[in-house]
Symmetry: C2
Subunit: 117 residues, 2 copies
């Protein structure tokens, strides 16, 4: 219920943290992997990547801070998964913002007319 048609205002800037969380290659890869597979342990997420396990852990915690991921210890390993709730929320933000951009894009295209861009 928070916000709806707030693009032109400035209140939607709350999405900044989410963008920031996605503004890193390593993190984006992790999100992608968690998107494709079920809950994964830190060790699994570290495999393949080129950063240390600690780095991966930090990224996961970063995602947790913005509410995009959660974890739970099972035996000796900690399993991480994305949070549907927040993910849907983020998806909503993206959609809303890109919708706002549509108008801007049209306006810009009209403004430059024949010009390249």
């Amino acid at each position: 219920m928070t916000s709806s048609r707030s693009i032109g205002g400035g209140a939607f800037t709350g999405a900044a943290p989410i963008f920031a969380a996605l503004g890193d290659r390593t993190r984006l890869k992790i999100v992608a992997r968690l998107c494709g597979a079920g809950p994964l342990s830190i060790a699994r997420l570290t495999e393949g990547g080129k950063v240390s396990r600690q780095a991966v852990t930090k990224h996961l915690q970063a995602l947790e801070r913005v509410g995009l991921a959660r974890s739970s210890r099972i035996g000796r390993e900690r399993l991480w998964e994305l949070k549907a709730r927040r993910l849907a929320e983020a998806r909503h933000y993206l959609k809303e913002i890109s919708t706002g951009w549509d108008a801007a894009i049209d306006r810009l295209r009209a403004h430059v007319e024949l010009d390249e861009d």
Copy 2:
């Protein structure tokens, strides 16, 4: 033509710089203002905000680096505007990623079933 169904892979991480560029409140506000109005001078963009003119300039240059904005000097002022091309590209990224999330969200929801989240 670059990428299309690349969510599950890892090549789409090229979107990271764009997310990073949007991962800052101040910059997000600037983008919003440029979205709503036509080309604006640095002075205009500085009005209202709480950061110095130099800060605004730096943010604009940051947006320029990722190709989201461009500028041109007119008389004694420099007018900034968003680049429709890149903006549309970013919009595409957002759409694609959020589409990829849809599947993940469904899977997550199914996985936790009755659970909260």
